[in-house]
């Protein structure tokens, strides 16, 4: 039996759960001996003119070795906007010297012998800022009254598509239009950002940092610092979560390298949680308007989506997000007409980047909310409306109105499976009973059907590299360009290599995140790793067996075609002659048994699924309790169900979090209101039921493993299902829409308002 598809327990875990991982902060490395600690002085004002920065007192503070601000940084060009569609004027200075654009903008940095001395010294830097009006919302930004970058002449970072044509819904019997907020959230990885850098006598710099893709981060840092990339060695040690916010280098990483050069000593920076909550990229942040039109029999004829994307102060991935939202706007449906428009806007807030799903969850949230609004308007069961409009099953590529080419889809089957597993009819009957009784605790049933894009070509190709070497002692090493930070690649990649070679999983070491050893790699993001990186390991192992056959053929004086892999001995044997053979380890004794390869995927894949969520809403207090989450997530062939379920669990949890709890808040002046974990309510196990996961696997032809992405699907499906369930619970009281997060206060107020409107 193949090891693939079995629940191999994570080989990473014994170490992670006992001694602990080795994060950047934990590194014990000769190169970092005597490292100074960097503490950034950040703007406490969202928008203003910097009048003066006085570092003289800080320079005299205990342990301070150096203090730097804009006047010391004349050798670097500002960080370019970096995206072709964004005005070049929207660049970021390394140190704000004239204008601060968000609470968290870097003004100065102190280097100290000990970390705690940095916090003491930072308090002594005095910064005088003349406050300007802050642009806090996308609506403010669109007015273009206060400009973040006056030279750009606008707050619009990028615009996509045309306004909705006036007659777009002409002929529709029913049209529903609704503003929908897809709120800004914080990724909150358990490991905050961290970096350390040391220059060698050879003129090369080694940078350690917590990131989702060493190769990409290295290229960016070299570019920013004007360094020959060959002089930069970047290492990502163990990484404690990223969720998209650790894609690409952060300016702080490059600055740590720059500081190490200036100071002539290694430098280390580990941010604290408050710094993380304002300094690390946020996610989502879309103000949407959805409009849906069709006939009373439930057929949707036209769907329109307007997206105003909050990008924060400086462009990161924010301006790209709405393009993914637009691409996925048609979703799983056969809508005859789909329209989408988007504007990406600068605001005086923390920059927005990718966060679990990055643009796709926002598309699913919009359309799934729209369908429920439409169903409520015509008085039809939401499952029925979906079934009427889903694309019929297809196994040949399907091109959507927005130009996405879906590989295959069985959306009706996914919906039916989840409804069956949940016992949909009984749930509706129970709901009807409670409504009839006027119970305080009402039942809400919410659903979503989704399709997303994974393994998209990020501009670096839709492929991945891998190297495999078998050693004379029978162990093997696999080098991968992916960048695990919790996903379990060490286990899965070893399983894939083992399946081809017979080398036991525990004898295979997987190495990642070192640009000297692995110069090419795409990192881990966009649910790409297994379908590209895993497939590359598969290809490497296959090629290694072929190479071994050539070598063994000489030694055994046999025809390579007569040789076959003997998995039980991890060796090659002559077909029909048991016992006569040679192991891979023996072959490696003579000369290195090693292959380097690159796998190119046939294209992106389009995982799909359906989620059904049951909530109980206390109609007196407005509080929601999630009772059941039932999901179908079709990720193609599953290599390790344990790992795939882990991805689904985490994804679902983050979806529940966005629907019910989490939101990054600013006051009207752009001051963050959620900069500690006492204020930012991230989700924990106490708010979640056990998840009911239903199997469905439609292999993709895009890679030999048949695998599609699973890292983000859980979030994409669960967010709208939970959101819809909460509104469904109070729909009979006249409530049509409540924005996320559906906090108790918002739910209570929506009920109050609906009742008032009902009595007038």
């Amino acid at each position: 039996m193949s090891i693939l598809g079995t629940r191999v327990v994570r080989t990473e875990d014994p170490l992670f759960l006992t001694r602990g991982a080795t994060y950047t902060d934990d590194l014990v490395d000769d190169r970092l001996t005597g490292a100074l600690h960097a503490t950034f002085i950040r703007s406490q004002v969202a928008h203003g003119r910097v009048l003066s920065v006085d570092t003289s007192a800080a320079r005299e503070a205990p342990g301070v070795v150096a203090v730097y601000s804009a006047e010391d940084c004349t050798d670097l060009d500002p960080i370019p906007a970096g995206l072709p569609m964004v005005p070049a004027a929207m660049s970021r200075p390394w140190f704000a010297s004239e204008t601060v654009r968000f609470v968290g903008d870097i003004i100065a940095v102190v280097l100290t012998e000990e970390r705690y001395q940095g916090e003491d010294a930072a308090e002594m830097v005095s910064v005088d800022i003349d406050t300007l009006p802050a642009v806090v919302t996308t609506a403010d930004a669109l007015k273009d009254e206060t400009l973040l970058f006056p030279e750009a002449g606008t707050n619009v970072m990028a615009a996509f598509g045309e306004p909705e044509p006036a007659d777009f819904f002409a002929g529709c019997e029913v049209v529903v239009r609704q503003a929908v907020v897809n709120q800004r959230v914080a990724p909150v990885p358990l490991e905050t950002r961290a970096a350390a850098a040391a220059w060698g006598e050879d003129g090369r710099v080694t940078i350690f940092c917590s990131n989702q893709g060493a190769q990409q981060a290295k290229a960016q840092i070299a570019g920013w610092l004007g360094l020959d990339p060959a002089l930069v060695h970047l290492v990502t040690p163990d990484v404690g979560g990223g969720f998209g916010a650790k894609i690409g280098a952060d300016p702080e990483f490059a600055m740590v390298a720059w500081l190490a050069q200036k100071a002539g000593r290694p430098v280390k920076w580990v941010e604290n949680r408050s710094e993380n909550l304002v300094g690390m990229l946020h996610g989502r942040g879309q103000d949407q308007v959805v409009a849906i039109g069709g006939s009373r029999d439930g057929t949707v004829e036209a769907y329109s989506l307007l997206v105003d994307q909050d990008c924060g102060a400086y462009p990161r991935f924010g301006p790209v997000l709405p393009t993914l939202t637009m691409l996925m706007a048609p979703a799983v449906y056969a809508f005859p007409k789909v329209h989408a428009q988007a504007r990406a806007l600068a605001t005086n807030t923390t920059s927005i980047g990718a966060y679990r799903g990055a643009g796709r969850p926002e598309a699913t949230a919009a359309v799934e909310r729209a369908l429920d609004l439409f169903a409520a308007e015509i008085g039809m069961d939401p499952a029925e409306v979906r079934r009427k409009n889903l694309l019929p099953d297809f196994h040949e590529p399907h091109t959507t109105a927005m130009g996405a080419v879906y590989d295959s889809g069985e959306y009706v089957a996914a919906l039916d499976k989840v409804l069956d597993a949940a016992g949909y009819q009984e749930l509706r009957a129970e709901q009807a009973r409670r409504r009839e009784n006027g119970d305080v605790k009402q039942l809400g049933i919410g659903m979503s059907v989704y399709v997303e894009i994974t393994g998209a070509d990020t501009g670096l190709g839709a492929g991945e590299s891998a190297e495999m070497e078998v050693h004379p002692d029978g162990t093997a090493t696999v080098l991968t360009g992916t960048s695990p930070h919790g996903q379990g690649h060490a286990t899965a990649w070893a399983m894939i290599a083992s399946e081809q070679t017979g080398i036991p999983v525990d004898k295979i070491t997987v190495i990642h995140g070192d640009t000297d050893r692995i110069p090419r790699g795409g990192g881990t993001m966009g649910s790409r790793s297994l379908q590209q990186g895993g497939a590359a390991v598969h290809q490497a192992a296959t090629e290694l067996v072929e190479l071994a056959k050539q070598r063994a053929a000489e030694q055994l004086e046999a025809d390579p075609a007569d040789l076959e892999i003997d998995l039980s001995s991890a060796g090659l044997s002559v077909r029909g002659t048991p016992g006569a053979g040679i192991t891979l380890a023996q072959l490696a004794e003579k000369e290195p048994l090693l292959v380097q390869t690159r796998f190119e995927a046939g294209g992106p894949t389009f995982p799909f699924g359906a989620h059904l969520v049951v909530v109980e809403v206390d109609t007196e207090s407005g509080k929601t309790e999630v009772q059941r989450v039932v999901t179908v997530d079709d990720a193609g062939t599953i290599v390790n169900p344990l790992l795939a379920e882990g991805q689904r669990h985490g994804g679902i949890a983050q979806g529940v979090a966005q629907a019910l709890l989490e939101e990054v808040l600013y006051d009207a002046d752009g001051n963050p209101q959620t900069s500690t974990l006492a204020d930012y309510p991230f989700v924990s196990a106490t708010e979640l039921p056990s998840f009911e996961l239903v199997d469905m696997a439609t292999p993709t032809p895009m890679n030999p493993l048949g695998a599609k992405g699973i890292g983000e699907a859980g979030t994409i499906g669960s967010t709208p299902a939970v959101h819809n369930a909460v509104i469904d619970a109070v729909a009979h009281l006249g409530v049509r829409h409540i924005d996320m997060p559906t906090t108790p206060m918002k739910v209570w107020r929506a009920i109050q308002q609906a009742q008032q409107e009902g009595t007038h």
């Binding site: 003491d120 207090s621 906090t743 206060m745």
Partner: protein, 276 residues
């Protein structure tokens, strides 16, 4: 997230701690479980020059019956109170409320003296204590004195405790089989209360409805007049002055105070009739 510089004084007796307070005055702070003080210090909202650690003083953690009262040592951790058999029999409201504080880690560190001294209006045990009524026993250079709980909390982070005094004991009446309830409203299980209501023996106290924990006096008076639970609970927010934050504005907080008071009174009545 790193506190400013400070000196640590490890007190070995109550007298020792008081002497340190006298010596350093304004610059000194008592450190008990540290679960309110240390977060403030890490955010540099508090920067005491001296920390007087009282957790090593023997004999500060106990729950015992003393006449008509239950006496609780100031050093008693929330977890100890939660599991205490004497408390469960004599004042069941307290161990239950203790079980609702934060998470297990918080309950293993935080002390009843600390939560009483801290005077955060959004804290659980002070709300239950205020509903119970009773006294705070404090000790200073001149010896001990007793402050009624109803006069102890003066406002946000403000108490009747003098700078050189230490809380040594909390005393509450034995409630035996009287009905009781604690209704805590949170968004997540481990959170601080957005609003909470404690009810015991016709008395009701509220968390987070003013600068300190407060009694719902209008409700209590209505109950004493013989009003129904629903009528009395509808008055729970009278005289309160709740704040607004991201979880609740004033209107919603007032609503929660009335709702939780009603639920607490109903539950307390149910418990009382079950016991009878």
């Amino acid at each position: 997230m790193i506190p400013g510089p400070f000196e640590l004084v490890r007190a070995t007796s109550v007298e020792d701690a008081i002497a340190a307070l006298v010596e350093h005055g304004d610059d000194a702070k008592i450190l008990a479980g540290g679960h309110s003080l240390l977060p403030l210090m890490k955010l540099r909202l508090a920067m005491p020059a001296y920390l007087v650690d009282i957790s090593g003083i023997p004999g500060m953690s106990y729950v015992r019956v003393d006449g008509d009262e239950v006496a609780i040592g100031a050093g008693t951790r929330h977890h100890e109170l939660e599991k205490d058999a004497v408390a469960a029999a004599e004042v069941p409201l307290l161990p239950y409320t203790a079980s609702q504080v934060g998470d297990p880690q918080v309950r293993h560190r935080g002390t009843i003296g600390g939560t009483v001294a801290h005077s955060d209006p959004a804290s659980d045990l002070p709300t239950a204590l205020l509903a119970l009524g009773g006294d705070v026993v404090v000790q200073g250079p001149e010896g001990r004195r007793t402050i009624p709980l109803t006069e102890f909390w003066l406002g946000f982070f403000e108490t009747a405790l003098a700078e050189d005094e230490l809380i040594v004991e909390i005393r509450v009446p034995r409630t035996g089989s009287a009905g009781w309830a604690y209704e805590k409203f949170t968004r997540r299980a481990n959170d601080w209360p957005i609003v909470a209501a404690a009810a015991v023996d016709g008395r009701v106290a509220l968390a987070n409805m003013a600068g300190s924990v407060v009694r719902a006096t209008a409700t209590e008076e209505a109950l004493a007049r013989g009003a129904s639970i629903a009528e009395a609970a509808a008055l729970a927010d009278e005289g309160t002055s709740p704040g607004a934050d991201m979880h609740a504005d004033q209107e919603y907080r007032r609503h929660l105070a009335r709702l939780l008071t009603r639920r607490a009174l109903e539950r307390a009545a149910g418990a009382a009739s079950a016991a009878a």
